[in-house]
Each structure stands twice: as structure tokens, then as C-alpha cells.
């Protein structure tokens, strides 16, 4: 079907549903706060003052636009389609997470809330939230699984320097999903004066749509830059998917461009067949977790399973509802690469381009290498380099047997 005789993409519906996914599966206490947030969100598209403030901060605080960089040596090394990198790693705080954090901080200010909370896995979203809290003068509390607090000591200290309180979460598996549970408990208790800055395109309506819209600056810039620098749209976009915010941000402005293939890359961990992965779209089934219906990794009793990925930012058993929907309608294709492939890609990009990708983004780079070989030399791949890899040096050094 051509884009001309098809209705433009128009999801979610009023209840936040993307087909059978999304919605709002929360305790009753939160419904009112979500209604308020939804009302504000629905008025944003016509709110010129808000748009100007957001764009001002993206330009002058975050440092946008980020470059679209053609990676010639990487392309030559692999030998296939042309690979370009969307450099979200060059944002202030080193990842795409800040785009959404700035947008939601503006919303919190608009709602008159003086306190923000967040969940974090690797710490990137926690750092982004602590950063905007400092910038806007909010109190800030970041929930982080006890295991992740140990693994990401540097980011924990960084958040504290920014004035945030970091609360280690010792329930459940002590990782990102448990941090999200705890943040929801905080929000239920302090809903009057607190805004919950969810870091991904997950959670109850309106978060998946809200976070998507704040992140689409990635895709809009990519579209303009492709036309200007390359003379046409890319053939395929590739991004890693944990919750899926960087992928959604890149993909969404291209949703009605049928000629552009969209590929999301999940974490296959030690291999899908081992069960030790974080790839719900590849090996999960529809369920309800953290406020919305999406693909999840659960066992036969409906209990959420523990996940594994070398990358803490992808180590999550759920995924955004819109990605779930796109998988089912076939608008995007979702693949998975292992820890080992991601680490190889991390090293490859360092060596060929002098760019150190986050281990999350390394998953996208790894799959780009596979995809490039399947395509002609004149085809163009854009990879979302969602974050920089400084935070992962310790992990790689450990693998190399190096201690500092």
C-alpha cells in the first residue's frame, strides 16, 4: 500500500491504546494525576510558549541539533551499505535521555510541582533527571536497584553531586523494574506535589506518547539532515530497544515513509536460546507491566522474569506499547544481538571512528554491521548512537582483566 492512499498514522486513541497495547493499568489513586498530565499533554501541540521554551532549552542547554555523521571508515571496514550515525551521544549528559527530561521538567513546572522522581537502570536517565532538577530548582529523588547502585557507582555519585537523593531499591530482583515499582509507590504517596519523570516510552498513558513526542526531535533532525547532506531519505533506520525511547524518537517521524525500513535491536544477552536475555519483542508475549499492556518476559504463571544484558539500560523485561503494536502490524522489525556482538561493535567503532558508543547503542551498531552486508553500496543506513560509552569503560576493562 502506498502512503498516498493510506490514512496517516494516528495512534494512540483517547485512552492511550496502540491497537491492543498501551492503556492505563494503574492503581486508582494515580488516575487523577494521569488525567491531569494527559490534559496538559493534549494541549501542548498548540502551546506556542511551551514549544519555544522547549526548543530554546534543546538548543542552548542540551546542545542540539546533534550531527548526522557519515562513518566512512566503519563503512569501508564492513563493506556494504553506507552507515551514518545520529550523534545523540554528543548531547549534554551524554545520551538522548536529556531530551525527554527537559520536556518533562517544563511540564512539571507548568503543573506547579516542586519535586521530581525517576527510576534508573544504568543511571543515564537518573543523571538526566537530576540534571534538569538542578537546572529548574526541583527536589529530586532517583530510585535505583541495589544491584545497579553497585554496578554504576560513578553515576550514583554524579547524581548526588547534582543534588539528587539516590534511593537503593532492595525488593524483587533489585534492578530497573524494581526501581520503577518503587518510583510508582512514591508517586502514589506524594502525588500532590511530585511529578514522575518516566524515562522511556513505557508506563501508563500518557507517558508512551508524551516521551515519544519529546524524543521525536531525533527523527525530525535526521530527516532534515538526510535530505540536506545525502540528498534523500535513508533506506533503513536502526536503534537499540530497551523500553524503546531512542528508537521511537528516531523512527516516529518516518512512520508514514513506507520506503524507510525500521529495525529495533533488543538485547539477546547470552543468547535468546539460553533464556538469559532482555528481548520481550523477540521472545516474550503480551502482558501487563508498569501501567501498560505490551510484550513482556514472564513465566507460565504470569510472574515477570529476571532479565540479562551486559547493558544495564536494556536490561528490562518490558518494552514500550507502541513498539509492541509496530511489531504486530509489521511497521518495524525487531531483532536481537548478544552481549558478545555488542562488545565487538563497541571495540569496532572505537577503532575505526574514534567514537566510544554506550553498550546500549553498541547493540544497534552491531546489527548495522549485519544489515550493511545485506544491502548495496549505494543504500544508506542511519544508526542512532543513543549515548556515549564512558560509563561502560569499567565493564569492558573487567572483560580485559584490567583493574584501575
Amino acid at each position: 500500500m502506498s502512503a498516498r492512499n493510506r490514512k496517516p498514522y494516528n495512534a494512540p486513541d483517547d485512552g492511550g491504546h496502540f491497537g491492543e497495547f498501551g492503556g492505563r493499568f494503574v492503581a486508582e489513586t494515580l488516575t487523577h494525576a494521569l488525567d491531569e498530565l494527559t490534559e496538559l499533554y493534549e494541549n501542548l501541540s498548540t502551546d506556542e510558549v511551551f514549544r519555544q521554551r522547549f526548543e530554546h532549552d534543546l538548543a542552548h542547554y542540551v546542545g542540539r541539533p546533534t550531527p548526522l555523521y557519515e562513518a566512512l571508515r566503519l563503512t569501508n571496514e564492513i563493506g556494504g551499505a553506507r552507515i551514518c550515525l545520529k550523534r545523540e551521544d554528543l548531547n549534554h549528559t551524554g545520551a538522548h535521555k536529556i531530551n525527554n527530561a527537559v520536556g518533562q521538567a517544563l511540564l512539571a513546572e507548568r503543573m506547579g510541582k516542586r519535586r521530581v522522581i525517576a527510576e534508573t537502570g544504568a543511571g543515564q536517565h537518573g543523571v538526566a533527571t537530576a540534571t534538569v532538577a538542578a537546572r529548574f530548582g526541583f527536589d529530586c529523588c532517583v530510585y535505583m536497584g541495589e544491584e545497579d547502585v553497585k554496578r554504576q557507582a560513578l553515576n550514583v555519585y554524579r547524581m548526588k553531586l547534582l543534588g539528587a537523593e539516590v534511593v537503593p531499591v532492595s525488593s524483587g530482583s533489585r534492578t530497573l523494574k524494581d526501581a520503577m515499582n518503587e518510583a510508582m509507590r512514591d508517586w502514589v504517596t506524594n502525588v500532590d506535589d511530585t511529578h514522575y519523570i518516566i524515562g522511556s516510552v513505557a508506563g501508563p498513558h500518557p507517558y508512551p506518547a508524551l516521551v515519544r513526542d519529546f524524543q521525536t526531535v531525533i527523527g525530525r533532525e535526521t530527516k532534515e539532515q538526510s535530505l540536506e547532506q545525502l540528498g534523500r531519505l535513508p533506506d533503513v533506520l536502526i536503534a537499540c530497544v530497551g523500553g524503546g525511547s531512542n528508537a521511537m524518537g528516531l523512527f516516529f517521524p518516518f512512520v508514514d515513509d513506507d520506503g524507510v525500513d525500521l529495525v529495533g535491536v533488543e538485547a539477546a544477552g547470552l543468547g535468546i536460546e539460553t533464556g538469559r536475555h532482555a528481548a520481550p519483542l523477540n521472545a516474550g508475549r503480551p502482558g501487563v507491566l508498569h501501567g501498560s499492556r505490551s510484550y513482556v518476559m514472564d513465566d507460565e504463571d504470569g510472574q515477570i522474569r529476571e532479565t540479562h544484558s551486559i547493558s544495564a539500560g536494556l536490561d528490562y523485561p518490558g518494552v514500550g506499547p507502541e513498539h509492541s503494536y509496530w511489531k504486530d502490524i509489521g511497521r518495524a522489525n525487531y531483532v536481537a544481538v548478544t552481549d558478545e556482538q555488542a562488545v565487538d561493535a563497541f571495540r569496532l567503532l572505537n577503532r575505526t571512528e574514534g567514537i566510544m558508543p554506550a553498550l546500549e547503542s553498541s547493540h544497534a551498531v552491531a546489527y548495522a554491521a549485519v544489515e550493511a552486508l545485506r544491502r548495496n553500496n549505494d543504500e544508506i543506513i542511519v544508526v542512532n548512537l543513543s549515548g556515549r560509552g564512558d560509563k561502560d569503560i569499567q565493564t569492558i576493562a573487567d572483560m580485559d582483566g584490567i583493574q584501575f
Binding site: A27, E28, H32, V188, D301, G302, I304
Partner: protein, 274 residues
């Protein structure tokens, strides 16, 4: 009318406030649950809520979170919970039993599966903490067809318009969440709750049960002056947690604990009748 409906109807006519208990199925061990349920009934509990453990219980405070983790460690799943209800029903066919839990561990095999097995085991109603009415329209027909009550919650933050629409689709009773927070939290404001409960009662004939944060006979007594029922959960779970290394004492301790609550509520009901 369901077992829940007829029990509450009788109470309403007699001016008696219902006592509702919550314990997690399979905590601290699978073998303790049915004796605990029987002890609760002996002590004066009118309606039993049995928690179905879930790996990610986002509305629970630390007490019930830990209880849920212990139950999961004991291998408790939906099938095991239904077995406990079946066992309980061998000696008690009168006391209404509800299952309380989260969407994913209750509905992972779809509404028909849940409804059929729950009714067969002798369950009277289900409370799904993270399922507001808007998301329940698909599953409601299966519940209605089997006369299984799907109970909804109303919170202090629920607007009046919304509360009115919730009572129009709710089954069994209304579970009024007495505080903004998780289960077992500290700051219960009985007077504020009173006003809210009276407001809800003004536009529904369904009984209104008040829960989240009820700790002791004083709380129960004060709430009994206006609510149709009082729900106690974390306080009972704490008792069981404290006795997990001497499980035999659990039934006796629970019975004594709920009897105190029951007595306090009876005094309040007595005052109201005089």
C-alpha cells in the same frame, strides 16, 4: 445474588459493620494459609481476601511486598491459590472469599480461564489492583455471566464524576482506599475518610469497605461508625511474619487479633443503634 452481596445485605439491615481480612496465599508457608483463613473466620472475619502473589506488586507497602516474595519463593501460583480455596470450602461454604492481585498473574491465561476456575473453586469475587474500569470492559462479560464479582477501588484522588461511573459498573462492594499511598502506610486520617465515604455512599447502594492503613482496634472502631466494612491486611501479615519460625502459633494469634478488631467494631455498631 452472590454470596458477597447477600452477606452484606444482611449486615446492612442489621446495622452491622463487616470485617474484611487480607492475607497473602502461601505466606509464610503453603500449609499455614487454610488454617489461618479458618482462624480468621472464628475470630469474627466476615469476608476473606486472599492475595495472589505477583513479582511486581507496585501498590503494596514493604509488608505485603515481602509477604508476596515469600509466597513466590514457596512456589505459589494461581493454581495453588485455587487449591487453597477449594480446601477451605470443604469446611466453610458460607464465608465469601475474594482473590486480590495484579493483572498479569491473574489474567495471564485470559478472563474465561480465570472465571471458570475461580467459580469452580468457590471464589466469590476478584479485586485486580491495577485494573481500572476503563481497561476492564473486555473482561467484564465473563465475570457477569458467572456471577463472579469484579470489585473496583475508589481513592481519595478519584473525582466525583469518575466515582459515579465506577459505582455504576462495580460488583460486590466498593473498596475505598483510605489514603494516598501504598498498603500499610502510616498516615490514616479518619475524619477526612469519613467525609469521602459518606459522599460515595450518597450515590451508591453498594456497601463501601475502607482499607489501606487500618492498623488497630481504635482505627477499626472509628471507621465502623460510618463505613459498611473495614479491611485489615498489613497488620495481619505482620503478625504472620513475626511468627514465621513458629507457624503453629499463627492461627491462634490471628484469631485473637481479629477478635479485638471485631469487638471494637461491635461496640461502635452498638453505640450507633442506641
Amino acid at each position: 445474588m452472590s454470596r458477597i452481596g447477600s452477606r452484606l445485605e444482611t449486615y446492612k439491615r442489621a446495622g452491622k459493620t463487616a470485617l474484611v481480612s487480607f492475607v497473602t496465599a502461601g505466606d509464610p508457608s503453603v500449609a499455614t494459609t487454610v488454617p489461618a483463613l479458618r482462624a480468621l473466620v472464628r475470630g469474627g472475619v466476615d469476608i476473606l481476601e486472599l492475595g495472589v502473589p505477583f513479582s511486581d506488586p507496585e501498590a503494596e507497602g514493604p509488608t505485603i511486598q515481602k509477604s508476596s516474595e515469600r509466597a513466590l519463593a514457596n512456589g505459589v501460583n494461581l493454581v495453588a491459590v485455587l487449591d487453597m480455596v477449594r480446601d477451605f470450602r470443604q469446611t466453610d461454604t458460607n464465608t465469601p472469599v475474594l482473590m486480590m492481585g495484579y493483572f498479569n498473574s491473574l489474567l495471564h491465561r485470559g478472563p474465561e480461564h480465570l472465571v471458570k476456575n475461580a467459580v469452580e473453586a468457590g471464589v466469590d469475587g476478584v479485586i485486580i489492583v491495577n485494573l481500572p474500569p476503563e481497561e476492564a470492559t473486555d473482561i467484564q462479560p465473563a465475570f457477569a455471566a458467572a456471577d463472579l464479582d469484579l470489585v473496583f477501588l475508589i481513592a481519595p484522588t478519584t473525582t466525583e464524576a469518575r466515582a459515579r461511573s465506577i459505582v455504576s459498573v462495580a460488583g460486590g462492594f466498593i473498596y475505598y482506599v483510605a489514603l494516598k499511598g501504598v498498603t500499610g502506610a502510616q498516615h490514616l486520617e479518619v475524619e477526612t475518610v469519613r467525609k469521602e465515604v459518606l459522599r460515595v455512599q450518597s450515590y451508591t447502594t453498594l456497601p463501601v469497605m475502607v482499607g489501606f492503613g487500618v492498623k488497630d482496634p481504635q482505627d477499626a472502631r472509628r471507621i465502623a461508625t460510618y463505613a459498611d466494612g473495614v479491611v485489615v491486611g498489613s497488620a495481619l501479615v505482620r503478625t504472620m511474619e513475626a511468627l514465621q519460625s513458629s507457624e503453629r502459633q499463627i492461627p491462634g494469634a490471628l484469631e485473637a487479633q481479629v477478635r479485638e478488631l471485631r469487638d471494637a467494631m461491635d461496640e461502635s455498631d452498638q453505640d450507633a443503634r442506641e
